[in-house]
């Protein structure tokens, strides 16, 4: 697998340096690495990656796995994308903001807050994004327990009331 030299190299460095915080690290294919990392070491790993040239945070994808919520940080050096996956319990979902390392993350983090209801610690206050003002409080539409029909019904009723 000589064509995966660079991928193996960076993965080994992360594993050696942060062995206690890294799980399920795989090279999916050329230019794609997936790693599960622990929340409390997340920022340290990102800082290290940034020093190694992985300066570009493409986006953050939230997800709902049932018992746990989480986020995937897609970080790239133009060529290789490293996908860092972080999980947090659904009862009290909290993630630390990555703004100290990636200052471009504001909108992406607000999205996670709005759509998944994960509290982002350290995100400066601002207007919500992307849900509109006046969207029902405590409803996070991308969670799996929010069903489309119920959501539509609730929003229709809300509109009817306002009219």
């Amino acid at each position: 697998m000589s064509e995966l030299i660079k991928e193996e190299e960076i993965l080994k460095e992360i594993k050696d340096k942060f062995f206690e915080a890294v799980e399920n690290a795989i090279i999916q294919r050329k230019e794609r690495i997936w790693i599960d990392v622990s929340e409390n070491k997340k920022l340290e790993i990102m800082k290290y990656l940034k020093e190694r040239g992985y300066y570009h945070l493409s986006t953050i994808s939230g997800f709902d796995e049932g018992e746990k919520l989480g986020a995937i940080y897609h970080i790239t050096n133009h060529k290789i994308i490293i996908n860092l996956r972080v999980r947090t319990p659904k009862e009290s979902p909290v993630l630390k903001s990555v703004l100290p390392v990636y200052p471009s993350a504001t909108s992406y983090e607000r999205e996670i807050e709005d759509l998944f209801g994960i509290k982002i610690e350290g995100l400066p206050p601002g207007r919500n994004y992307p849900l509109p003002e006046g969207f029902p409080k405590g409803v996070h539409p991308l969670r799996k327990d929010v069903k489309l029909e119920e959501l539509n019904k609730m929003l229709d009723e809300k509109c009817a009331k306002e009219e």
Binding site: R29, T59, G62, I81, P130, L131, P132, L142
Partner: protein, 395 residues
């Protein structure tokens, strides 16, 4: 002098992405700017989870009218990676042609819009007239001027005939001539230079730090282009340059875009003269996965990224979309700061934000506590008048 705050936008219901800018002014200089977005959330990501993979293609195509092919291609690359589909070369070539035609039409559209915002209406009329040629090519190939519906999982839905290829080559040749003329206009026309040089500065280190993408980043000297970095379709077999420029301003963004049109034209010629033979699609089952994939695509505005998670059913578990405009909004406040109010419109237009923005602006004078309402049109006139007073002649 007291500071004045001007909210620009967000009402513009005809367009896709209404946005609001709070500009704080000291005299005529912008000293602070914040971008507020999210006025038109349609719940596309939730809707995607409730439709099957084929239905999703047509919904994703409608995320954006201008770069509809980009979003579908990005999504389809991820789905095909999960389903381990081997897409025929001819299908990949046709996807590439449509992608590059889309880039030409988007960049010509941008050049026209930018010229219009500058008060240079002749260029606006010229570019939009010539853009019809690209739209004709797209209609010829796909049957549609926008939302082409060419992609399907496993290939494309229509083949290219010899006659179509010849017709496109003819139109492309005309466009090549016209674009060479626009390169001259953009780089030599005094009106254009006076309004764009040293406007909306974005130094390279700031662009890197704030993760700018596409022509915005390339005009700050960053060589970032997914077509070269993570080649998809048949870009690894094509001969093309990544256009960069080091002026770090609106002028550079215009130069990058016009030169990119020429590169796109060359690519289309290369492909049409050497179109691979064979089928244009393969059959793929309704059920995909399980698995996950992340896919990047160089849309006309920059890096588009989709994350798809499949659970083995007909419906995706999760689809995440990040359009290039959102990435470029992070650096926009920086570009606006320390510029003139008169330059705000072209600076915003220079990242090519799907040209949604603003229809209305409220001027708030803190000292008098008085509000005045301006619309985009009046602000545009103000900016043209501002430069006329400085001695720039508009023909």
């Amino acid at each position: 002098m007291s500071k004045i705050q001007i909210p620009l936008g967000p009402q513009h219901p005809a367009l896709k992405e209404p946005e609001n800018f709070a500009l704080v002014l000291d005299g005529e200089m912008i000293v602070d700017a914040t971008v507020n977005i999210g006025y038109n959330h349609r719940g596309v990501e939730k809707a995607l989870e409730n439709r099957n993979y084929i239905q999703d293609i047509y919904l994703i195509e409608r995320i954006c009218g201008i770069c509809s092919h980009s979003h579908v291609s990005c999504y389809i690359n991820a789905v095909e990676e999960i389903a381990k589909v081997d897409v025929p070369q001819r299908a990949k070539a046709i996807r590439t042609i449509v992608g590059e035609l889309e880039r030409i039409h988007s960049h010509l559209l941008w050049l026209g819009v930018a010229a219009f915002e500058l008060g240079y209406d002749t260029l606006f009329m010229y570019t939009w007239r010539d853009r019809e040629q690209v739209l004709d090519c797209l209609e010829l190939l796909t049957g549609n001027r926008v939302n082409y519906g060419i992609n399907t999982i496993g290939g494309v839905r229509r083949d290219i005939t010899k006659e179509q290829a010849d017709e496109i080559l003819k139109k492309i040749k005309y466009l090549h001539e016209r674009t060479s003329y626009y390169v001259g206009v953009v780089t030599e026309e005094p009106t254009f230079l006076a309004r764009t040089q040293n406007v909306g500065k974005l130094p390279k280190n700031v662009a890197l730090e704030l993760n700018a993408v596409g022509p915005t980043a390339r005009a700050s000297g960053i060589e970032i282009d997914v077509r070269k970095d993570n080649p998809y379709f048949i870009y690894d077999q094509l001969d093309f340059k990544v256009i960069t420029y080091n002026s770090e301003d609106v002028f550079g963004r215009a130069v990058v875009r016009v030169l990119e049109i020429i590169e796109s034209i060359k690519m289309i010629e290369q492909i049409l003269k050497n179109l691979p033979e064979g089928p244009v699609s393969v059959k793929v089952g309704w059920k995909i996965g399980p698995g996950e994939a992340v896919s990047r695509y160089e849309a006309p505005r920059g890096e588009d990224i989709h994350y798809v998670k499949a659970n083995g059913t007909e419906y995706p578990e999760r689809v995440k979309v990040r359009a290039p405009t959102l990435a470029n909004f992070q650096s926009l406040p920086y570009c606006l700061k320390n510029g003139y109010l008169a330059d705000a419109i072209i600076t915003i237009a220079a990242i090519d934000p799907c040209m949604s923005c603003t229809d209305r602006a409220i001027v708030y004078d803190i000292k008098k506590g008085k509000k005045e309402v301006f619309d985009w049109e009046e602000l545009r006139k103000y900016s043209i008048e501002f430069y006329r007073r400085k001695g720039i002649k508009f023909s």
